[in-house]
């Protein structure tokens, strides 16, 4: 057994991604990405029957994926989601609250309802898209600069006092 992760996105354009992008364009005109996507990221810990278990949970709990307005996929199929542009360099960064009631409460619900998972960790996945031609290391450094908010005029997407960021999700995309 291992962990199984899914990403959930809105069928409509994501307003948080649009606002973040317009803020980047305003305060970092030189280094802002060419595209920015936002997903809810759910990491299910040790689902007993792997994807089958996760499929069952997602179809059962519409608080996780509301099929009227959201769409979802397993993390390694993220490029198949509508809107992804294969020609761009995509870098993903996970932002997770260090202490998170949402994950704790969903874990309690799954255990109570015998959902065949040991727990769940909820995060936000931001995907930065850069036009072809940029070096990977340059893009990666820009992502870190834009993400980690250390000063009022530096970074936006994560406050490191209460949130952690994870670039290892890169290897999955």
């Amino acid at each position: 057994m291992g962990n199984t992760s899914i990403v959930v996105s809105l069928k409509a354009p994501d307003p948080a991604a649009i606002t973040a992008m317009s803020t980047f364009r305003r305060i970092y005109p030189e280094t802002c990405p060419d595209s920015l996507e936002r997903y809810d990221y759910w990491c299910f810990m040790n689902p007993r029957r792997g994807r089958e278990t996760v499929n069952g949970i997602v179809s059962r709990y519409h608080d996780i994926v509301n099929p009227n307005k959201q769409t979802w996929t397993f993390i390694d199929d993220i490029n198949k989601l509508a809107g992804s542009d294969d020609s761009m360099l995509w870098i993903g960064v996970l932002v997770t609250d260090i202490i998170d009631s949402v994950s704790e409460n969903w874990t309690a619900i799954f255990r109570r309802n015998c959902c065949e998972v040991e727990g769940v960790l909820c995060s936000v996945l931001w995907r930065f898209g850069f036009a072809p031609g940029i070096a990977f290391d340059t893009a990666r450094n820009r992502v870190l600069d834009l993400t980690v908010s250390t000063y009022r005029d530096h970074g936006l997407l994560a406050n490191p006092v209460s949130q952690k960021i994870d670039l290892s999700v890169l290897s999955l995309i």
Binding site: D97, S101, A108, R152
Partner: protein, 275 residues
């Protein structure tokens, strides 16, 4: 300073407490104007004597509460005015903006040294709306223009937030106590980290923090929603509940000021030099 102090209330897209806040200021004998987030030139020309960032959901709390508003150009001006010592109050979402601006605790200029993280309560998550009781830290009462007239009693105020848990990085936790301005307690003034006394899991039961000078105060409770006694819930325990009973008997219930007025009166008295 003008003959009547003028307090600017900054309205961001999604602010929703600006009019109550303006009324509370005016009812405390000061003047007030609401400036939209894109009126930074008008704000500069208006030369306010103090600033308030009201509650609400600036930019719909997108990305993180207060994060986007903190990057707005109008905050450059607010930032420099606060650095010059002008009083600045952030209420609820305004507090979140101050934290994301690095104005509180403000140990290093502009550095973000704390966070208002999502409430952490066993068994529930998300938005929480209820009345809480508050103690005023003695140092804060001494130095902050917003707290000088808050007295020695316990103050009841309403909270309404999903992200109100003050958090500090490990290396800064020892310094946090110096920045304490308001702490959650019960109606007797006894502090506890247990829910519902501490409603969100805030570090050190903090409900408000300030900068070292005390002129910048970031508070999660809403004083403007408890400006009049009639805004308090019936059967409130403690001193303010007794005041409700007394004002009923004396017929002054509708015109008696409530605990939230103390914050605005403190500022008015500060400008009059009465502290």
């Amino acid at each position: 300073m003008k003959s009547v102090p003028m307090v600017a209330v900054i309205q961001f897209p999604g602010s929703n407490c600006e009019y109550e806040t303006k009324r509370a200021i005016k009812n405390s004998g000061m003047d007030s104007f609401i400036y939209r987030w894109n009126q930074w030139q008008e704000l500069r020309d208006g030369q306010p004597d103090a600033y308030i960032l009201p509650g609400g959901f600036s930019f719909q709390d997108r990305v993180r509460a207060g994060a986007v508003a903190a990057k707005e150009r109008i905050m450059d001006l607010v930032f420099s005015e606060a650095a010059d010592g002008k009083p600045l109050l952030g209420i609820c979402n305004g507090a979140q903006i101050l934290v994301e601006s690095g104005l509180v605790p403000g140990w290093e200029r502009g550095r973000i040294e704390s966070a208002l993280a999502a409430n952490h309560i066993n068994g529930r998550s998300g938005y929480l709306s209820r009345w809480v009781f508050l103690n005023v830290a003695s140092k804060a009462q001494r130095i902050s223009p917003w707290l000088g007239k808050t007295g020695n009693g316990v103050i009841p105020l309403p909270i309404a937030h999903a992200e109100g848990r003050f958090v500090f990085s490990e290396e800064n936790r020892g310094r946090a106590l110096n920045s304490a301005a308001l702490t959650y307690c019960d109606e007797e003034g006894i502090e506890s980290s247990d829910y519902p006394i501490n409603p969100n899991g805030s570090f050190l039961n903090l409900a408000a923090i300030m900068n070292d000078r005390g002129n910048v105060l970031a508070m999660m409770p809403h004083p403007e929603r408890a400006f009049w006694l009639w805004q308090l819930p019936p059967f409130l325990p403690g001193e303010w509940g007794d005041r409700i009973d007394q004002s009923f008997r004396s017929g002054s219930y509708a015109v008696t000021k409530g605990p939230g007025s103390l914050f605005f009166t403190s500022l008015a008295d500060y400008f009059r030099g009465e502290r």
